[in-house]
């Protein structure tokens, strides 16, 4: 069988991921970012490690020490999740780490809510759905996890969602944006119908769309459409909206890559 010499192999391919890899391990990088407070540190670390039981144990210890459960959401859980999302954005950890951390964080938020009379304040509400006729929802599940990990309240309508249900949810929940994912070309046409019905009702919020067959050209065809190439773009678009970039054209300028 034919084979390469080391020298000839290098003329055919470059493993850029190996060449560019950061010197620091993910654990070392996280250690530098954890808060130093001795009550908060174990919670943030448990979030990073995705250890749900340790998160709850740390929260209980902090509550026993007099910390307010709702304040711990922002001061401990979101801080730990902030370490995770920062290292994910920097390419130091992988999506499964984020998903496991998000599971642990949501568990922790539930625990805090159970131990408090007051409701937590979130950064804002986002309505998420998979296009009518389409049941492929792994992309939407990643989007919702990343949005929640970034402090957003997500109304997850699920998959194969009728156009009218999406519109009704937007009317009822007044989100800062709505997201749609689709795998197939003939189902993503439903995005245009959602767009048209929102406009009929005078609602002009960004409609962030992405998924398998969805492309920037298609999303640009409807007034509210903002294309997200990756699931990780969803919280970034939401952050941009909160920061004041609400015009569709400005969001497209910022997030459209092609």
């Amino acid at each position: 069988m034919l084979d390469f010499t080391e020298a000839s192999l290098k003329k055919v391919l470059t493993r850029y991921n190996v060449a560019l890899e950061k010197a620091m391990t993910p654990e070392d990088a996280a250690e530098e970012l954890y808060p130093k407070d001795e009550l908060i540190y174990p919670i943030a670390k448990a979030i990073f490690e995705g250890e749900e039981d340790d998160v709850v144990e740390g929260l209980q210890a902090a509550i026993d020490a007099g910390e307010d459960p709702i304040a711990l959401i922002d001061d401990a859980l979101m801080v730990g999740m902030g370490v995770v999302t920062k290292l994910y954005d920097e390419g130091i950890i992988f999506l499964p780490n984020v998903m496991m951390s998000a599971d642990a964080m949501l568990n922790g938020i539930e625990f805090c809510k159970e131990n408090s009379e007051t409701a937590p304040v979130t950064k804002g509400t986002v309505v998420c759905h998979v296009a009518e006729g389409d049941v492929h929802d792994i992309g939407k599940n990643i989007v919702t996890a990343l949005l929640r990990a970034n402090g957003y309240d997500v109304i997850d309508l699920g998959r194969d969602v009728p156009v009218d249900e999406v519109v009704a949810s937007v009317v009822a929940n007044k989100p800062l944006m709505v997201t749609g994912t689709a795998l197939m070309t003939t189902t993503m046409y439903a995005f245009k119908e959602v767009n048209d019905k929102l406009l009929e009702k005078g609602i002009k919020i960004p409609f962030a769309c992405g998924g398998g067959a969805v492309n920037q050209d298609f999303v640009s065809q409807y007034t509210l459409g903002v294309y997200g190439e990756e699931a990780a773009d969803a919280p970034k678009i939401a952050d941009a909206i909160i920061a004041g970039t609400t015009e569709i054209a400005a969001l497209r300028e910022k997030f459209h890559k092609h």
């Binding site: 850029y16 197939m184 070309t185």
Partner: protein
């Protein structure tokens, strides 16, 4: 028909395998013999979004697509072509729509065959519509519609019957995003294989009744999801070492179609097909460098190494400078096939096969394992315990880890992330029981509680 498990390899050695030749060629459609000494372009396409608005619009769209492809093949002088229509959900949910499309397409193909003698066949890939908004509904009413779609298409002109089935996906989606190796084994190797046995026994029976060919399934819903999430070298969504593990585990799952009576060619996006060809000797369609219109991968040349049909995966129908998309991509596919067929006719096929393989062999752990020599080793691990759907999936995963480790000791470079994911996966596999009943019981308990959309009754539990 009960599944007849494979417990030995079709080929005595990996080197026996080449493109265009399979141990068990398949006659199909209008004059085609697949895997009988020549490769065939297989063109796949998707209608424009607005074409799904009505049955009439869809049929018209597929008529245009079919005419465009057949005309281009004749214009440039290619002897054979397969068309693959992957159903949009409207067609599978309304079997008469799919049937009408099949009839319209076959009518056009027959005209070209009669006039020019071009050999051709029509594959219809029925959508796996067995779901509702909240759950997979693998059995029951939806299953009846699903089978009806196969039967109507077969009676109306489809020659090759395929599907990308979804059994196990609810657990897989949960597991793959959590680096959960036992979950991936359970989802693909066990739940997927159990569902495959049910559907492929029925599909093979429909093919036999209608005089068509049960062609095969792919683990698109799971292994391709892993490959897609893993992405390119700089993407950080899933370690590529885990993506190839999902792929290795998918081979014994997709094998079940052939154990239930499928004849091939296996569907294009089944990158596991090289392993299945080694085990079954059945012809396979593959996709790679000429499917970049649909997705990127890291083995565009390598995956052509032993294909019998060569596909573009899917392209939306619209205009390009060189004609419509289906004309452009069918021509590219056909030129690739002309090169392979020239190699076959001049007895240079093993040289070309090895050049294709070697150009990507060290590009990624995924391509390394799917290089035909290593793929053959995964096949051997599968047939070693061929009668046990759990053990053979576990064997495939262990063999995959061993192959990547061996490669990493040589010219296959791994990133630290990939190495760590591989080491974690190996440790996880080492701790697993060999007792299938215990594994199944433990997983049933675990995933019933962790995955709220997992309905055990889908699998007959």
């Amino acid at each position: 028909m009960a599944a007849k498990r494979y417990t030995s390899m079709a080929y005595a050695s990996a080197d026996e395998m080449t493109f265009g030749v399979s141990k068990h060629p398949v006659k199909a459609g209008l004059g085609l013999e697949i895997g009988a000494g020549y490769t065939i372009p297989e063109v796949n396409y998707a209608p424009r979004p607005e074409a799904g608005a009505s049955k009439e619009k869809l049929v018209k769209e597929y008529e245009r697509i079919t005419t465009d492809i057949m005309a281009r093949m004749v214009q440039v002088g290619f002897p054979a072509v397969i068309l693959e229509t992957e159903h949009v959900q409207q067609m599978s949910n309304n079997p008469s729509w799919g049937a009408e499309v099949a009839h319209a397409q076959k009518t056009i193909m027959e005209e070209y065959h009669d006039e020019y003698g071009i050999k051709c066949a029509l594959r219809h890939t029925i959508g796996d519509i067995r779901e509702n908004r909240d759950f997979l509904q693998l059995r029951g009413d939806k299953y009846s519609v699903f089978l009806e779609a196969f039967e109507q298409c077969a009676k109306s002109g489809a020659d090759l019957l395929s599907v990308e089935s979804m059994g196990g996906k609810e657990v897989f989606d949960h597991a793959v995003l959590r680096n959960d190796i036992p979950g991936m084994l359970y989802a693909i190797g066990c739940l997927g294989s159990m569902d495959m046995e049910m559907i492929w026994s029925d599909i093979a029976a429909i093919a036999q009744k209608t005089g068509t060919v049960a062609a095969g399934d792919t683990d698109c819903a799971q292994a391709n999801t892993a490959m897609f999430i893993a992405g390119g070298l700089l993407d950080k969504n899933l370690a590529h070492t885990l993506a190839i593990l999902a792929r290795a585990i998918s081979a014994p799952r997709s094998l079940v179609a052939y154990e239930c009576g499928a004849m091939g060619p296996g569907k294009d996006c089944g990158y596991e097909n090289i392993i299945i060809k080694a085990i079954t000797g059945k012809p396979m369609t593959q996709e790679g460098k000429t499917s970049t219109c649909a997705h990127s991968d890291v083995m565009g040349n390598l995956i052509m190494q032993c294909c019998d049909c060569w596909s573009n995966e899917s392209v939306e129908y619209h205009g390009e400078f060189g004609g419509t998309t289906v004309q452009c991509w069918s021509e590219s596919l056909a030129y690739d096939c002309a090169l392979m067929n020239t190699a076959l006719e001049t007895k240079n096929e093993k040289v070309l096969r090895d050049l294709l393989m070697l150009s990507d062999r060290y590009r990624d752990p995924q391509s390394y394992v799917l290089a035909y020599d290593n793929a053959y080793k995964v096949g051997q691990a599968i047939v070693k315990d061929g009668d046990n759907i759990y053990l053979r999936a576990k064997n495939a995963a262990v063999a995959c880890c061993d192959i990547v480790s061996e490669g990493a000791a040589g010219k296959l470079e791994l990133s630290r992330f990939e190495s760590k994911a591989l080491a974690d996966a190996k440790a996880s596999l080492d701790s697993l029981t060999d007792d299938m009943d215990k594994f199944m019981d433990d997983c049933l308990t675990k995933y019933k509680s962790e995955v709220k959309v997992f309905l055990p009754e889908n699998y007959g539990f």
